[in-house]
């Protein structure tokens, strides 16, 4: 498959979608980064201030406790002293005096972090952030140097985590909003960015549709201006090339038709005087007549095809009454049965009668050669017009239903190039003529389930062409 751009499956989203996606991902990353660092910093700030407050209070309380203790104080004296100490919200204290421990209402010695206990055994103060009963707590331990006693303050961080939870929700919301906004921004930007591309696409489609003189105007952006220049240059080259091809086809047409005219007139004279010829000469003349006909046919079809390829094939539109057209088409063959909806008297469309006649002739010819002759022509119409040609031959195998419309395709039952006069171009011309009429053609099984091929032509009821100059 040369000349066909290969699209990556992952890129199916489209440029606009991908840009919007990129913006969204960027928004998500930036907002996540901001949220995370905000959380970390806030947390550190909150924990540190809590720690600071707790440590300061613990030092103050330990000093006050030390001042109020006497060498004779026992563990029973402690609660009264402790009551006079400053309390911190969410804070508890545990005090060791000799071998006795004054536990807090909810905590006792076993809840204290081991390494802090060890540190105080060395008579050194310490503070740790450690889990106590599964929750993070800040624990300060201060040895009372004048006595054999230690003061422990245990402060929970519930307030901190509550604040952080709230913050987390706020940041999550902000992050989501940022991501959505970024996506919308991306969509808007891509739409703006793709607008010139859409103009280029429109121009390319116009050229593909046959309006070869389509050009892009100057662009506001210098990058796009270069693109538009290249595009116009390409369009100009294409137009020149196509016109050259068309001229060539026209010249070839003239060159081939002139000798054919001489041949046909000359052979016509011989044919008129065939009685004067010998048996052998007559046989030779018959061969000449037949192959001249075939040659003429082939030249006409090749020229017709070159017309499509050069994009110069145009419709000569006239009013065609499809009913009368089909009646005239089947008139020559008594074996053909024409079926027309009972209420349809006439059905006038704008069409190229010559091309339609050739389409029908080719389909009937095809049926004659591969299907033992067409047996039925059926007209149906609603929003479109459908003309079906049926035969009672072997039908068209499912696998060949597309390729039979290719040039020089003959199908599995074909391949014999005998005296049938077929050029192998007929069905491809049918497809091209239908395309010119904004219609289509396809092969299918017969609708009544019997053996045979059914070729269906579909034509629009109202043919509107982009090129009004062919209309008249």
């Amino acid at each position: 498959m040369t000349g066909r751009a290969v699209a990556d499956d992952a890129n199916r989203l489209g440029l606009g979608g991908r840009i919007a996606m990129l913006f969204a991902v960027g928004g998500l990353l930036v907002s996540s980064l901001l949220a995370t660092s905000t959380l970390v910093l806030t947390r550190r700030q909150l924990v540190e201030s809590r720690e600071g407050a707790a440590a300061a209070m613990a030092v103050g309380n330990a000093t006050r406790l030390s001042n109020q203790l006497t060498p004779d104080s026992t563990i029973e004296d402690l609660p009264t002293i402790v009551d006079s100490l400053t309390r911190l919200e969410g804070g508890q204290r545990i005090i060791r005096l000799g071998d006795d421990w004054l536990p807090a209402p909810e905590l006792d010695r076993d809840d204290l972090p081991l390494d802090l206990l060890k540190r105080l055994e060395q008579r050194a103060a310490g503070q740790v952030l450690a889990p106590v009963r599964g929750e993070p707590h800040f624990v300060v331990g201060i040895p009372l140097t004048a006595f054999d006693a230690d003061y422990y303050a245990v402060v929970d961080l519930v307030e901190v985590s509550d604040t952080l939870d709230d913050l987390r929700i706020i940041l999550l919301g902000a992050g989501a909003a940022t991501t959505v906004l970024a996506a919308l921004l991306g969509l808007w930007a891509s739409t703006r960015m793709l607008r010139p591309l859409r103009r280029i696409r429109g121009a390319a489609e116009a050229i593909a549709g046959g309006r070869l003189d389509t050009r892009l105007g100057p662009q506001a952006d210098p990058d796009l201006d270069r693109l538009s220049d290249s595009f116009n240059e390409m369009a100009r080259a294409l137009e020149n090339r196509i016109h050259r091809d068309a001229r060539f086809a026209s010249d070839v047409s003239h060159e081939l038709r002139s000798p054919l005219t001489t041949l046909m007139a000359g052979v016509g004279v011989l044919d008129a005087r065939r009685d004067e010829l010998s048996e052998r000469s007559r046989t030779a003349l018959d061969l000449l007549v037949q192959d001249l006909k075939r040659f003429n046919h082939l030249v006409n079809e090749l020229l017709e095809i070159s017309g499509y390829d050069a994009g110069v094939a145009a419709l000569d539109l006239t009013e065609v009454d499809v009913v009368r057209f089909l009646q005239a088409t089947v008139a020559a063959d008594p074996a053909l049965v024409l079926t027309i909806p009972p209420t349809t008297r006439s059905l006038v469309i704008d069409a190229d009668k010559r091309r339609l006649a050739r389409v029908m002739a080719n389909l009937l010819d095809n049926a004659r050669r591969y299907g033992g002759g067409a047996t039925a022509v059926i007209l149906e119409h609603d929003e479109t017009i459908r003309i079906a040609v049926e035969d009672e031959g072997p039908g068209v195998p499912e696998t060949e239903r597309h390729e039979i419309f290719d040039r020089f395709a003959r199908g599995s039952t074909g391949g014999r190039r005998g005296d049938d006069g077929g050029t192998g171009l007929g069905l491809s011309l049918v497809a091209e003529d239908l395309r010119l009429h904004r219609g289509r053609v396809w092969a299918e099984d017969r609708s009544d389930g019997r053996d045979g091929a059914r070729f269906v032509l579909e034509l629009p009821l109202n043919l509107t062409l982009g090129n009004p100059e062919v209309e008249w």
Partner: protein, 243 residues
């Protein structure tokens, strides 16, 4: 006015012992010779010319009964030859085109040709076209000898058309077209009907022959050809002549 002495039935290529003369213009010598041989085989008398200038000179010297013009000619082209000969008389003109685009066909008809053929053509088909063009206006089923439509007066048998009392000069084909429309009693005739009656084509003839001839006819008989009063186009059906 239709020239009376040219409306004889020439179906055998001869009348009163005098052959119907066909003037051909074709620059390709081999085609010219082969076509002459083929036409002579059909019983016509052929005069060959190789250029437009030669053809005009030959026609001025002795008008032919039918002219066959190739469009692609060196010097003055087929369209110009056609226009000049049309100025000189009502003789039926058949254009021959080798090009496949349709502009040539329309331009040829507008230049005054009565019919056209595409190269390569079957010489039998050419003879059939010539015979059809030489046919006399249809009078055998006894249409009225005088048809009056407003200020338009048509006399089929005499080959006379008058508008407001003045003679209108029509070519043979234009006249036959008008007579077919006039004898239809206001019925609509489809392009195919007219192709068959006037040109002898079957259903698959080129409807543009009718369209261009109707246009030409209108410029001659309509007071305002852009807003026809006599020859009316009936969308989706064809043409009719309105009283």
């Amino acid at each position: 006015m239709i020239n009376e002495n040219k409306t004889e039935d020439p179906s055998m290529g001869q009348h009163r012992g005098v052959s119907t003369r066909i003037l051909t213009v074709e620059d390709d010598e081999r085609i010219r010779t082969a076509v002459r041989l083929a036409l002579e085989e059909e019983g016509w008398d052929v005069e060959e010319t190789a250029s437009g200038e030669e053809a005009l000179e030959a026609f001025t010297r002795q008008p032919a009964d039918v002219v066959l013009i190739d469009i692609m000619l060196p010097g003055i082209d087929g369209f110009e030859v056609c226009r000049n000969i049309r100025r000189l008389g009502d003789v039926p003109i058949v254009m021959v085109t080798a090009r496949s685009d349709s502009h040539d066909v329309v331009a040829g008809l507008e230049a005054g040709a009565d019919d056209y053929l595409r190269k390569p053509f079957d010489p039998k088909e050419l003879s059939a076209r010539i015979r059809a063009l030489l046919r006399r206006a249809r009078t055998d089923d006894g249409p009225p000898t005088r048809i009056q439509l407003g200020q338009l007066e048509v006399r089929p048998e005499e080959g006379v058309v008058r508008h407001a009392g003045d003679d209108v000069h029509l070519t043979r084909t234009e006249f036959r077209l008008l007579v077919e429309l006039a004898t239809a009693d206001g019925r609509v005739l489809s392009r195919e009907d007219l192709l068959e009656k006037v040109w002898g084509y079957d259903y698959f003839g080129d409807g543009r022959l009718v369209d261009v001839h109707v246009r030409r006819l209108r410029t001659k008989i309509e007071p305002d050809p852009a807003n026809p009063r006599y020859v009316i186009t009936v969308r989706g059906m064809g043409y009719k002549l309105q009283a």
